[in-house]
């Protein structure tokens, strides 16, 4: 069974490497600042003791005051997993860095989030709408979409 690592523990490791990059952490997950997501994700993937080489999923949640993008990572080698999150506090053009360079599986999921939630992923290789067509008004999974 995959062991879910403590968010607090991982947060302290990241804080050690990149001070001030973790917004908050709990037993289940940790919240990254979006500008330090990419170096922290690279750290999580490449560190020998962590080695999160598999991205289970990316999803996004609309909490009215902010958007939250959720990543679940698993290490197939160490058989442990972690949930990391990042937040966008703006409703106009929210953006987080793309992790396609680290995990190829993120490609279509980031496109889906861009399409339905309207969060753009910086430096995504092919960021265009996926399920809806070019010219569709709005982003249907946002809470204020009617």
């Amino acid at each position: 069974m995959t062991v879910a690592l403590s968010g607090k523990e991982i947060a302290s490791q990241i804080e050690e490497k990149f001070p001030g990059s973790v917004e908050e952490s709990s037993q289940d997950s940790l919240v990254m600042k979006s500008n330090s997501l990419l170096p922290a994700a690279t750290f999580l993937k490449d560190t020998e003791s962590l080695k999160f080489d598999y991205l289970n999923y990316i999803t996004a949640v609309d909490y009215y005051s902010y958007f939250e993008v959720v990543y679940q990572l698993t290490s197939l080698e160490h058989n442990h997993s972690i949930v990391i999150k990042t937040r966008c506090y703006t409703r106009e053009n929210p953006a987080v860095p793309s992790v396609v360079g680290l995990w190829q599986g993120a490609n279509s999921q980031e496109r889906e989030i861009y399409d339905l939630m309207g969060i753009s992923f910086e430096k995504h290789p092919n960021l265009k709408r996926m399920f809806l067509w070019e010219g569709f008004p709005g982003h249907p999974l946002r809470k204020d979409y009617l």
């Binding site: 399920f131 809806l132 067509w133 569709f136 249907p140």
Partner: protein
């Protein structure tokens, strides 16, 4: 010059002539009655089998008895269609077991499933590629009206928004029996339709106002 002995026949020339004459006489005697026509029995059989009908009726019979559906199944109603095609319900009893991968060889579209606006141009293109005469069966609630997804931002509320529909089969999904009943209804409809439609009407078919 003397003719050598071994060249002589057993019969003399006179005897040969007599034998030949005898053969002819025998054949002539036995050939006084003409031989009966070997196909004579057909007359009776033809009288029982030939039906006189109109060209319209025979063409419509041919059309409705060989409906070939095009492969265009956007969603889950396709499974009921597969069941209807399968050995238990066996739609081929009505002459329509051949699914055509190319719309150019098909004359029936069974719209089995929810249609999204993103898919709609492709379905419309498949319909346009089918040669006349062609018919459409709207299968299931989604095909009729959009079903439970009717109010969704991405779903076409009924196939009749993009292509003309001949028969509506309700259900979610319809049972294979219902689909076969719908096909039978379509066959009844074809039987009554004019074989050569009005060309102007044909040009207008499927166009929007």
């Amino acid at each position: 010059m003397e003719v050598s002995k071994d060249r002589e026949y057993i019969y003399s020339p006179t005897e040969l002539d007599r034998i030949e004459g005898q053969v002819i006489e025998e054949l002539r005697a036995s050939s006084q009655e003409s031989i009966p026509d070997p196909d004579e029995w057909l007359d009776e059989e033809l009288e029982r089998n030939i039906l006189l009908t109109s060209v319209d009726a025979i063409l419509n019979w041919a059309r409705r008895s060989s409906l070939w559906p095009v492969i265009c199944f956007p969603a889950c109603c396709a499974f009921e269609f597969i069941a209807a095609e399968g050995p238990r319900f066996d739609m081929s009893r009505f002459g329509m077991e051949i699914l055509r991968a190319s719309p150019r060889q098909a004359d029936l579209m069974i719209t089995a499933g929810t249609l999204t606006w993103k898919m709609a141009p492709n379905v419309r293109r498949i319909y346009n590629q089918m040669p006349e005469p062609k018919w459409v069966i709207a299968m299931g609630a989604c095909a009729i009206s959009g079903g439970i997804f009717r109010s969704s931002y991405s779903v076409v509320p009924g196939y009749n928004k993009i292509i003309p529909v001949d028969v509506y089969v309700p259900g979610c999904p319809p049972r294979p029996e219902a689909l076969i009943y719908g096909v039978r209804m379509l066959q009844n409809k074809i039987a009554k339709a004019p074989v050569v439609p009005d060309p102007l009407q044909l040009l207008e078919k499927g166009k929007k106002e």
